[in-house]
């Protein structure tokens, strides 16, 4: 087990290096720099700024400087947020995004998994039809439509909940619900498929025929086994939540990773783009490593040979 974790950790280093290099290349070959603002700075000042941030050096040298900085854990400085390093910004933004993502994922699991199980257990009947209708609605509504709708109803019309910013627990409710929709619907569909496969197994029939109550059969035999594939989609789920966070943090003006990423792209704030992308990559690697480890706990047949 420890071996696997160490191996995964070592494998993450080249992956991160590739991500860092690709992103670096991507932002540097594009025309337009962070100081091309509309304010028309005198050329001397632009030259000074470029010199200060090493932007006047040839690209290969910038690359070496950049990787060396990354190796020390220094993500650089923001060109737009004065006197703030990327580390500072992300140190503040990451916990916000993690809280939001965590609450949303919890909501998604609490509603999505039972919905999928209900659909599968009543296969072909009305409850299946309505549960699947609900989950298809869930994957068909764009995040910004849910967000706009919730804001309009609960914040503007009812004035029941605050909208925007990140101050009290009340501020978490609407963004978390918005963010939970699409992973919830995804989980419901996945759980349904998984349960459908399990209910046809021989040992489920055995459990029923030995007189086990329906509840015990469903909870102990069907659900427990159909949750394996559900746990293992944490990787894709993290990707869905990151994607969702761009929209949700934009709509609700939440100072999280997603919003900083979007503004960084708009401002060509090089180091902030690179830094945010690196953190996203790290989050995805952690999620996928967790999945590999969870596989081994949940299903001994999955143990890797090597």
């Amino acid at each position: 087990m420890l071996g696997l974790i160490i191996k995964r950790f070592l494998m993450a280093i080249p992956v991160l290096l590739i991500v860092a290099s690709l992103t670096f290349l991507l932002v540097r070959i594009v025309p337009g720099g962070p100081f091309d603002s509309e304010k028309n700075l005198p050329p001397e000042i632009v030259a000074n700024l470029n010199a200060k941030y090493h932007l006047d050096k040839p690209v290969p040298e910038q690359y070496v400087l950049y990787i060396a900085r990354l190796a020390r854990g220094d993500l650089g400085v923001s060109y737009k947020y004065v006197n703030r390093t990327v580390n500072d910004i992300l140190f503040d933004a990451l916990p916000v995004s993690c809280q939001l993502g965590f609450v949303a994922l919890t909501l998604a699991v609490v509603f999505g998994v039972p919905l999928g199980a209900i659909a599968a257990l009543g296969r072909g009947g009305k409850q299946d039809f309505f549960a699947m209708l609900l989950s298809t609605l869930g994957i068909s509504v764009p995040g910004f439509v849910i967000g706009a709708g919730l804001i309009f109803i609960f914040a503007i019309q009812l004035k029941a909940l605050p909208v925007g910013l990140w101050e009290s627990p009340w501020h978490v409710i609407l963004p978390a619900i918005t963010l939970a929709f699409s992973p919830g619907a995804y989980l419901a569909r996945l759980t349904r498929a998984s349960v459908l496969e399990i209910v046809e197994k021989d040992w489920v029939r055995t459990a029923r025929s030995k007189g086990l109550s329906e509840w015990d059969t469903v909870v102990k035999h069907i659900l427990r086994n159909s949750l394996i594939p559900v746990v293992t989609v944490l990787g894709p789920l993290t990707a869905i939540v990151i994607t969702g966070s761009f929209v949700v943090e934009y709509i609700y003006a939440i100072p999280g990773m997603g919003r900083f990423f979007i503004t960084a792209v708009m401002n060509r704030d090089y180091d902030l783009i690179l830094g945010t992308t690196m953190i996203f990559a790290v989050l995805l690697i952690i999620a996928n490593t967790f999945v590999d480890i969870a596989y081994q706990f949940l299903d001994p047949r999955m143990r890797m040979e090597d």
């Binding site: 309009f152 990707a239 994607t243």
Partner: protein
Amino acid sequence: MDSTATVKTRTVSDGKVTLTPWERLLKIPTAVAGMVIIGLICVVALLSAFNVPLCAFAYDQTSNIYLAGPSQLHPMGTDELGRDVLARVIYGARLSISIGLTTALTAFVIGTVYGAVSGYFGGKLDSLLMRGVDIAYSLPDLLVMILVGVLVGRGTIGILIALGLVSWMGTARLVRAQFLQLKNEEFIEAAYAQGQSGLNVVLKHLFPNALGPIIVALTFTVPSAILSESTLSFIGLGLSPPACSWGTLASDGWRSLRAHPHLIFFPSMFIFLTVLSFNFLGDGLRDALDPRTRLNKFK
């Protein structure tokens, strides 16, 4: 849409009567509803492309009714320049639908070729190609699209390139799995025994038999492309005026949500309706083409 080979191999006895996949599809109410809605929206989008006047005020730039709510004259109200929102939504359908369909076409071409090469040759090349797909698949679509957008620009072409890049992996996996499974079947062996060339076997035997699941996958590519485009445009990293898609319309409307909710409501509703219809159709096609599902239970 159905090649004869697909129909032959996919037809199963459903109860007493043998139904073709098409007949099975027509028995699923949600799929039929989806097809009707998609058909209507496509017809309207096509007509608007030929400047057929679909509503009286479509191109009236001189109206002085600004930001009016829905009325008999303007069923969806007007925007801040006095433009009729219904006309804008119809106009936006053209761009949104063509972006969805173009992306599906791109995914089809790249995904099929990639997956066919991987599945047909197998072995080391296959594991290498599939590892590439695994990595590309695990990245958040929107993140990749935004980064690609930085490189290729934010016009319609840029969006199409970005969408194409993130949407072919599912099809590639699917085609590869189909090919791996089919290439050991007896009828493939028979084709080789007849002396048919490898290319002939791929094009005339493997591909037609893999077509069913490919069509299902492509049906799901269209709505996800429409969603991605509208989301990107909404957060300001996709299309921007004068380009007019449902996403840019919703983005415009978002700024005046408090005072003029109709501006965001109608474009959003059409995104939702279209995406929902394609998802229903995709689910329906999948069930219709899968011999294991028994449709007669779904009443």
